[in-house]
Symmetry: C2
Subunit: 329 residues, 2 copies
């Protein structure tokens, strides 16, 4: 049932019906009685407007594209939930996609979403996605980057204080008396990973300590990544503490630690919390990103763009907090 059929049935024009439906009856000085007649009929037949047609006419789809690395992941999943909830308050729905770190796929996804006329985009960039992002930014489509910043592109960004938080974590390990601190991270140029690494290197250097870095290859994340870590640990028997640059590496690390040749105990701390970190033995100390705050900031920034006349670029760095549990004591 469409607006013109309603109009025909009621012997009024399409625009009258449209105005009533959109609550502009008063404003357009349509008589109360006619308004009611329209409303009643709409109610009666359970008319629902076709949002697609509306979007085509208005140029607004009330849909936001959310592109993350992996929606099933313990960082992006929860953040997607919060983003969705906040966006709902502004009556936006979410079209989502996971890139699995594949930048070719990411570019494709971005294009499809643009084709579908999303009103805005929220993106956790993959490596080598600069060109596409630049195009979006230049085309004035509202976009908010999060988790990973893209250097050299002037876009909205929400992230955390990777460097400072990492420094605090390393200092905490030092305060506990550990002196042979190793770091497990992935081989990536992503700025947030570089920040975490630099914080480690710099802090150790300030204490004249020697760094030991295990660079795992991202591709092995799922399968037997933990073996890579175990081998590295077996080669570095003098280490007494570890810093993991992200929670899934820590998850693999825990597995590696449980499978060491000799029963050494190492202290450790990781970036990013995980539902399970308070359940394992020992409970895992971590640097916790405030997911809900991050989501809130992202949505706020996007909605600002969406409603603003002129474009303004913002950056919001939301500090993470050290969550000390037993693994680092």
């Amino acid at each position: 049932m469409s607006i013109s059929e309603i109009a025909k049935h009621l012997n009024v024009s399409k625009s009258t019906v449209s105005l009533v439906i959109n609550g502009k009856a008063e404003k357009s000085r349509i008589s109360k009685v006619l308004t009611k007649r329209v409303l009643d009929y709409i109610e009666e037949i359970g008319y629902k407007p076709n949002a697609l047609a509306k979007s085509l006419a208005t140029g607004k789809s009330r849909t936001i594209g959310l592109i993350v690395e992996n929606i099933g992941d313990s960082f992006f999943g929860p953040i997607a939930l919060y983003i969705e909830e906040y966006l709902r308050k502004y009556e936006y729905q979410v079209l989502y996609s996971s890139t699995m770190g594949n930048n070719k796929l990411a570019a494709e996804i971005i294009q499809t979403m643009i084709d579908k006329q999303v009103d805005g985009l929220i993106l956790a960039p993959t490596d080598h996605i600069e060109k596409e992002v630049k195009r979006i930014v230049d085309s004035n489509t509202p976009i908010v980057l999060f988790d990973r910043k893209i250097l050299g592109i002037d876009a909205n960004y929400v992230g955390t204080n990777n460097y400072e938080a990492s420094t605090t974590a390393i200092q905490h390990l030092l305060e506990q008396g550990y002196r042979n601190i190793g770091m497990v991270t992935i081989n990536s140029q992503q700025p947030q990973m570089q920040d975490r690494l630099q914080a480690y290197l710099t802090t150790l250097d300030q204490h004249s300590l020697k760094p030991h870095v295990c660079l795992t290859s991202f591709s092995e994340k799922k399968e037997h990544g933990w073996k890579e870590i175990r081998e590295w640990l077996d080669k570095n028997t003098h280490l007494d503490a570890l810093y993991f640059s992200t929670n899934y590496l820590c998850v693999m690390g825990i597995k590696a630690l449980q499978n060491l040749q000799n029963e050494r105990q190492l202290a450790f701390i990781t970036f990013d919390d995980h539902e399970i970190f308070e359940l394992v033995q020992p409970p895992v100390s971590c640097i916790r990103q405030p997911l809900e705050k991050i989501a809130k900031s992202i949505v706020h920034m996007l909605v600002t763009q969406l409603t603003a006349k002129e474009k303004c670029i913002a950056e919001d760095i939301i500090p993470s907090e050290l969550q000390i549990r037993k693994s680092s004591l």
Copy 2:
């Protein structure tokens, strides 16, 4: 840049351009040379069709609505990822929403998705959503239910063998010699939860054993649900084993077990695996649903509906597997 501007620039008609773009040039016997001229120009200006307009004209949006309880959860998150990946193979994108178990919200979400003309719906039903689902089914919009079945509605469904798998799990505990087996579940009428409960009750009855059920209230899931379990455990000191009806209850249960008054050891097993269950001590035995298979089946069923002339209802029960780790030995 739109199709008519291209047509104007090239001095051809809109339809010619449209036909070329959609690869129907041959079929419509448009000359190779004209075809090439159009293609070249499109390439040159980087023309991208407006998917919204296309959808309005064709009645197909190539978008599927996915409605789950919580996208950030360790069951729905990963399954959403698989669903998305399989749907991509058929060139569908996903509009998602989390209901958080709120049926009013769920109804709203369903309506918004329908308004946006999704081609099909994948739904993990909340309680009391029967009416809405019935409406969808009656309206012939392709829909696939999963995880929870709705009794009395003839809709496509993909799930697992809750009853049989649960029985196997309980029998496993019995074989290990446990005789005082309690069950922790949520207070819900959802069929899959009822099946899991019935399997427990029946199996115990067959062995003339007395059941002990801890019915937690779902609303407390997030906060201090584990305290509810601990109190129940403190009151039931004779229990020597536990069966959890779902993984997040088990997560809470682990926390409860770690905080018992006296250091009792209970064996336990749970429905649904979790990334962390092999990392905690003891590693957790579970009934594992084959998530990828489930996702694949859902998508296959949906795509079948989408392309079928006549509608056919299917049901696919994918068996879960017992994954024995140490917690139940």
